[in-house]
């Protein structure tokens, strides 16, 4: 019985092991620098924004679809929201912020709907459809802002975003945890979650089993893009502004996290708990790399791209039967 439980969670254990290796690596290279309170506070402050985005994208991946437009769409939605808020600076801040958020989420719904319809109704390959939409959203953002940063956010917005609940829980982290809990519930305890895994595994068999697969795909794109947009609203909080390319650098990082967590875009696999571990691991790597002053940000793409390729190669190995001789996740790893 005990070994069975171990086997069931072997992929999770491997991810925890990886996290330990990463911690050890930076501890050895940088000594105690990693183990300071404010470093960990920084980690807790930084990952929620793209962590939330990753949770959104996860739904698309489990559904066996791809979305490349989520960040461009999120950037556009937040630009519109910030512009609205800036234009109504004299009205009561609370109401303006609420309307601004609703505008952003509304745009995300529309973006998700377009993605979903392009993929399920018009049968355009998901990567093609969403890359095109990515260009459309970025194009709109750049055209509207001439590529400039949009400022003028009500002070209340960033104030709330930098508050600590009970004196220790940063609000962005709280938002991340709430969304994480909702996603966990959606995946593991609802009919939608059950259908999502089945549709992602074999959409044709699901259609032959009287599942409304088109509605599933459209709904999942909307859900994905709305959650991604919440992540982008957190990003606005960090930057105190919005810009056409704020999210761009996060696209590959989100995909990397999902693949590392065993949520492959083939669909139907992966556990949300593993996604959480992967998010934190990647943030530790990001923070660790930042401790090397001569590794400037120009290397970021190289590091994330390289890591993604390594993880992708490993994930195909795992699919063929066990990494390091263990019976591990990847293609064989499924939900509990």
């Amino acid at each position: 019985m005990k070994t069975k439980t171990l086997q069931k969670h072997s992929y999770t254990l491997m991810l925890l092991g990886l996290m330990a290796v990463v911690l050890l690596f930076f501890t050895v290279l940088k000594g105690g620098m990693l183990w300071k309170g404010d470093v960990w506070l920084g980690i807790a402050m930084q990952f929620p924004e793209y962590g939330v985005v990753t949770l959104g994208l996860m739904f698309c991946f489990i559904c066996g679809k791809m979305d490349m437009s989520f960040m461009a769409l999120g950037d556009f939605a937040t630009i519109m929201a910030v512009q609205y808020m800036a234009n109504h600076a004299d009205a009561p801040a609370g109401g303006v912020i609420l309307v601004g958020i609703l505008i952003a989420l509304g745009i995300a719904v529309v973006g998700g709907l377009i993605n979903g319809l392009l993929v399920s109704e018009l049968d355009i390959p998901p990567v093609m459809a969403t890359i095109s939409m990515q260009l459309v959203w970025t194009g709109l953002s750049v055209a509207l802002t001439s590529g400039n940063t949009v400022k003028g956010l009500p002070a209340l917005y960033t104030e709330i975003g930098h508050k600590y609940l009970f004196g220790f829980l940063p609000v962005p982290l709280l938002i991340f945890l709430v969304i994480f809990a909702l996603c966990w519930f959606l995946l593991n305890h609802t009919v939608y979650g059950e259908k999502l895994y089945m549709v992602g595994t074999n959409i044709k068999a699901a259609r032959f089993s009287a599942i409304n697969t088109k509605r599933m795909v459209v709904g999942t794109y909307i859900l994905c893009d709305v959650i991604c947009c919440i992540g982008c609203l957190l990003m606005v909080n960090t930057m105190a502004s919005a810009k056409a390319d704020y999210g761009t650098s996060y696209v590959m990082r989100c995909i990397l996290i999902l693949v590392l967590a065993g949520v492959l875009p083939d669909g139907g696999m992966g556990k949300i708990g593993n996604v959480l571990i992967a998010i934190v691991t990647i943030q530790i790597i990001a923070t660790g790399v930042n401790m090397f002053p001569n590794l400037n940000t120009y290397y970021a793409s190289l590091i994330w791209g390289g890591l993604l390729i390594v993880v992708l190669i490993l994930s195909t190995r795992v699919g063929e039967g066990g990494l390091f001789g263990l019976k591990l996740g990847g293609k064989k790893q499924l939900k509990a």
């Binding site: 074999n202 089993s209 139907g268």
Partner: protein, 494 residues
């Protein structure tokens, strides 16, 4: 030099827990036609794949032209002169006949520049080997199955084939085309090439073969000259059953038809199809590949395009627009291709069983309890004795027969009036096949209206009280009761 071209002794192969080949002995003589016969799932294709180097044997010896062969790879098999013509023919439908014929030798010769004249020469040479005449510039995809097959044979001959293996070549052919194919086969045989002919059709095997090897459940149960075998023995060896099959006896047929199809047409697929179906009946629909039988089923399940005619359920004309709609109208469909259309292989057995009846499990706010899902599906696991110790295991861990039971229970978990089964026992072993047939008989006698679509004539004859024969998209014959025989159906099909 032995008298055999290819001799295999004690071939053993296991896939996980499945003993696919159990010490099979097998030999082919040059200049003879050898038939490899057996029902679906008996190990025929595994054996062929071992000969052609796709699979590696676990045990056993292979001798080719008297030389022991330790390790066969596909390239090695080609070099030895072994050519397999698979059912799908492995052709490039978008290229011309000439290109299809010449491409392999061009690649083998490692040429990088196209020389149309040389291609034409190669192609002509290939066609001349069996004196076959066809337009070299015709697109392969536009040819009939029979023509494609002959081109595939010509291509095989370019490699100085000594042994040509044909995997169920007659499945999609008309009688005339079969005759033409057999003429070619005899011609090849007389030129000294050994032919291995895979089939499960009694008539054909007796017509064409010199030797026969019959397999059942991974063992070879008979091998020797065809002349030593009577048709009755042959059936016995094939099925392992001396007794007559359990014929379906309808006991509970309703007066009024539950389903009535009137002059239904899907342009280019089938036209003017009319029939009715009563509760308690098992209606067989048979015909060759491409006769429109599958499309008819899809149309009844809301996945077709109806250009004309009507469907009525319980006397009311209805439009079925999607599988969801079909389910609402109490129609279930067990698809032809279990692996791609029937199952989510990488998901648990339990989740597959409940897939089309998740509504029953839906609780407040769209929540669902996985424990309840597991319990409900376990009822079906028990009821159909699905061979698994844990329904949390993936559907892919099961054999074909047990997988089919999953698909069946998925639909039977809904209240149905009509159940359409397309090729219900393809790739299912004999034991499970009988289970499934008995199950369907029970269901019909409990008042379900069943349609079985199958090209396995024996299956149709044993299980149906009425049979419709389709050809080129139209119904060409209907028979009931004692009039349903394999010979009668074949007569109509051809």
């Amino acid at each position: 030099m032995s008298e055999y071209l290819l001799q295999m002794t004690g071939i053993d192969k296991r896939f996980g827990g499945v003993h696919a080949l159990d010490h099979v002995n097998f030999a082919v003589r040059p200049g003879k036609v050898m038939c490899l016969a057996g029902e679906n799932g008996c190990g025929k294709s595994t054996l062929v794949k071992i000969i052609s180097g796709v699979y590696t044997r676990d045990e056993g010896e292979v001798m080719f032209e008297g030389q022991p062969i330790t390790h066969i790879t596909p390239a090695e098999a080609t070099r030895l002169g072994i050519q397999v013509i698979y059912q799908d023919l492995s052709i490039f439908p978008n290229l011309t006949v000439m290109e299809n014929l010449a491409i392999n030798s061009e690649i083998t010769a490692n040429r990088r520049i196209v020389n149309r004249k040389r291609w034409e020469q190669t192609a002509k040479e290939a066609l001349s080997k069996i004196g076959y005449d066809i337009d070299l510039y015709a697109k392969m995809g536009d040819l009939s199955v029979a023509d494609k097959q002959l081109v595939a044979i010509c291509r095989a001959l370019l490699f100085n084939a000594k042994l040509i293996i044909m995997d169920e070549p007659t499945t999609a052919l008309t009688k005339k085309e079969v005759d033409a194919l057999f003429k070619t086969v005899r011609q090849l045989r007389d030129s000294g090439i050994a032919i291995m002919f895979i089939s499960h059709k009694t008539e054909e095997i007796f017509e064409i073969s010199d030797d026969v090897c019959i397999m059942r459940n991974g063992k070879n149960v008979f091998s020797g000259p065809t002349a030593e075998l009577t048709k009755k023995d042959f059936t016995y060896y094939m099925t392992g059953r001396e007794l007559e099959d359990d014929y379906f006896v309808p006991t509970n047929i309703s007066k009024e038809p539950v389903l009535k199809v009137d002059r239904l047409t899907w342009n280019g697929k089938f036209r003017d199809v009319s029939f009715d179906l009563r509760k308690g009946e098992i209606l067989g629909i048979t015909g060759l590949l491409g006769s429109g039988r599958t499309e008819l089923a899809l149309a009844l399940f809301g996945l077709g395009k109806i250009n004309g005619g009507t469907i009525s359920l319980n006397g009311q004309p209805v439009k079925i627009t999607s599988p969801i709609d079909a389910q609402k109208k109490r129609i279930g469909y067990v698809p032809e291709d279990r692996l791609t259309e029937g199952l989510c292989l990488r998901q648990p057995i339990a989740d597959n069983i409940m897939l089309s009846s998740l509504k029953q499990l839906t609780r407040v706010l769209g929540t669902l309890s996985h424990d309840e899902l597991f319990e409900k599906s376990n009822e079906w696991v028990k009821k159909f004795s699905i061979a698994t110790d844990d329904a949390h295991k993936h559907a892919s861990t099961l054999s074909g027969g047990n997988q089919q039971k999953i698909v069946l229970s998925k639909w039977l978990n809904n209240d149905l009036d009509v159940l359409i089964l397309n090729g219900p026992t393809v790739g299912v072993d004999i034991g499970a096949k009988q289970d499934i047939h008995a199950l369907v008989h029970d269901l019909a006698n409990q008042g379900l209206a069943v349609i079985i679509i199958s090209d396995d004539l024996a299956e149709v004859v044993v299980n149906c009280n009425r049979v419709i024969v389709m050809k080129d998209g139209a119904i060409v014959g209907e028979m009931t009761g004692d009039r349903i025989t394999e010979e009668h159906i074949l007569e109509i099909i051809r």
